[in-house]
Symmetry: C2
C-alpha cells in the first residue's frame, strides 16, 4: 500500500528558474490528494502524466496566490472533460466565493458536485476521515490565516497469527471475527483473547505539510514522529530577519523543527526566487537535520512501510 | 517603427499537446499590449524573455477561464516585484470584482495603480487612444459577452517634400508648421497649401483580434482591409455543427471572414484540444484564403511597413 508524495511545484511567490509555485500530490492507498494548487498545477499534472481524475480531495493551505491560483483552471478543465464524481475542497472560507464567482461569470454549469469545507485557523481539527486515512488541519502562523495538514494512515488491524491458529480449525466466521479484532470462543471451555491469536500489523505512517509559516515550535507536538515532514524554508538563515518580517522560515529553522519533532525525513521547499542554486539551503538544513531533501519538481518521495 | 504580434498561447479551453491557452503580445511602436491572459501567461512571458514590465495595457476579450485565469497571477507578480507604473485592464465589467476580491483575501496592497475600463458588448467603441495608436473594441457573438479588438496605427503626418521646399529657405517655424499639417505663407503674395509642399507618409497598419465567436459576417466592415487578422478557428468545418453549438468558428469560416474583409494576412488559432496535428486546419483555411498561418507559440508576425 503506497504512501508517496510527489512535488509539482515548490517555488515561493512566483515562478522562477523553471520552478513552479506550490503544489503536490499525496498518494495514500487508493487516494490521490492534491495539496495546494499554484498557477500551472494542471500543466504539471499533465507533464508528470498523473491520472488527475483520481483526485477527489484538494487541500488549500491559504489564499496567497502561489498556493491556489491554479485551482479554478483545474476545476474548469474537469468541467470541460465532463467529470461526474464529486470534488471536495478544504480551505479558507473565502475560497468558495472566489471560485463560485468565477464559475458564475463564465456561465459554467458544473457536471460534478463541488463541495467546500472550511478550515479552521484557531484549532487543530480532523477534516477528512475514512477507513484508511485521516487528515488533520492545524494552524500555522503566516501573514494571513493559514493551516498545515497532517496525513495519517489509520492503524492497520492486527494480522491473524497463522502459527497460533493452525490447529484450531477455525470457521470462516471465527476467522473474520479475529480479523475484526474480536476475541473468540472455540468451545464452552476454550476461549482466546484476540491478542493471543493475532500479531501486530505495520505501524501507520504520517506525512506533515507545513507551509507558509514563521518558525513555530508550537507545531512540534502535532507533527511529532512524522515519517515525513515537508516544511517551508523560503530563506537561508542569514535572511532570518527577512523571513520573520514576511512570516516565513529559514532552512535552519525548518531543520530545527524536524529535529525537535523527531521526524524521520525532512523535505524543504517554497524557495525564494532569489536562490537559483538551492544547494546552500540544503546544506544549511542538513547541518542541523541530516535526513533532508530538496523539494524538486517531479520528485516522488515514498514513505517505506515501517517495521514493528 | 515596429508592429508585431507574438503568440504566447493559442489552444482553446485548456492546455494540451504542449499548447497553452490564449494570450498574445502586440508591439506597436513603444507600446507592448497584452491581449488575453490564460493560465500560465506569466510563465510564457518568462519563457520568451519578454520585457513584461513594459506591458501597461491588458485587453481581455471575455470571462472564459482560458482567456483570463493567468491575469491575477501576473498582477500579483508585478506586486511582488514592486512595480510602480499603472496598469489599465480593458475587459468585461465583472472582471474588476474578481480581481479585487482575490487581492483583498490575500491582503495585498498594490504598489502600482490598477485601473479597469469596462468593454461594451453592444457597440463598437474606441477604448484606448494616444498619439500613435487607437484600440477599438467590437462585439462578437459567443456564449457569454465577448469582444474583439482592433489595433490601429494612427495616420502618420505627411512628410515635408525636400524637393518642393529646397529653394524656399523656410524658417524652422515654417518647417514645423508644415510638419503639423498647416499651410504656410512665405510672403504677402506667396502662399502654399500643405499638400503642395508635403508627401503622403506611410499608410497606417491595423491588426484585428477576433476570438471567441460564431461565424459572424457582420464584423467584416469593422476589420476590413486589416493588415493582419487573428481569427479563432476552434474546429474543422466537418464539425461546423459543433462549432455553432459552442459559439465557435471553423477554419473555413475564419478564412471566409478574411476573404470577405480583404485582409492581407490571416492567423488562425484557439485550436480545439482534439487536434494534435494542426495541419488539416491550416489546409482548410488556405483553400479559401491562401495567406494564412497557424498561431504557433513563440511565433512573431511582423506587419511590414506598407507602401503608398
Amino acid at each position: 500500500m503506497s504512501f508517496d508524495v510527489q512535488i509539482l511545484g515548490s517555488n515561493s511567490a512566483m515562478a522562477a528558474h523553471n520552478r513552479h509555485p506550490s503544489s503536490q500530490c499525496i498518494f495514500i492507498h487508493h487516494h490521490v490528494f492534491l495539496v495546494d494548487c499554484g498557477e500551472g498545477t494542471q500543466f504539471q499534472l499533465q507533464k508528470y502524466k498523473l491520472k488527475f481524475f483520481r483526485i477527489d480531495n484538494i487541500f488549500i493551505s491559504h489564499l496567497h496566490g502561489d498556493h491556489y491560483f491554479g485551482l479554478i483552471g483545474l476545476l474548469t478543465t474537469y468541467q470541460l472533460l465532463r467529470r461526474e464524481t464529486k470534488i471536495t475542497i478544504f480551505g479558507p472560507p473565502q475560497l468558495e466565493s472566489i471560485i463560485r464567482l468565477q464559475l458564475e461569470v463564465s456561465d459554467s454549469k458544473l457536471t460534478y458536485p463541488l463541495e467546500f469545507v472550511s478550515t479552521q485557523t484557531d484549532e487543530t481539527s480532523i477534516i477528512f476521515e475514512d477507513d484508511d486515512v485521516e487528515v488533520v488541519s492545524f494552524p500555522v502562523k503566516h501573514r494571513i490565516p493559514c493551516t498545515g495538514f497532517l496525513f495519517k494512515e489509520k492503524v492497520f488491524p492486527r494480522k491473524v497469527n497463522a502459527d497460533a491458529v493452525k490447529d484450531l480449525k477455525l470457521s470462516s466466521e471465527q476467522y473474520y471475527a479475529l480479523r475484526k479484532g474480536e476475541d473468540i470462543r472455540i468451545s464452552k471451555d476454550i476461549y482466546f483473547s484476540n491478542q493471543q491469536l493475532t500479531l501486530p500489523n505495520l505501524p501507520p505512517r504520517t506525512y506533515a505539510y507545513c507551509t507558509d509559516t514563521l518558525f513555530l515550535p508550537s507545531i512540534v507536538p502535532i507533527i511529532q514522529y512524522a515519517d515525513l515532514l515537508y516544511h517551508e524554508s523560503t530563506f537561508l538563515n542569514e535572511s532570518a530577519a527577512r523571513a520573520k518580517e514576511t512570516f516565513h522560515s529559514t532552512a535552519y529553522q525548518a531543520a530545527q523543527i524536524a529535529k525537535d519533532a523527531e521526524v524521520k525525513h525532512l523535505i524543504i521547499g517554497h524557495f525564494s526566487s532569489k536562490y537559483q542554486d538551492l544547494s546552500p539551503l540544503l546544506r544549511e538544513a542538513q547541518d542541523t537535520f541530516e535526513d533532508t531533501s530538496l523539494a524538486i519538481e517531479g520528485m516522488i518521495y515514498s514513505i517505506p512501510k515501517q517495521k514493528n
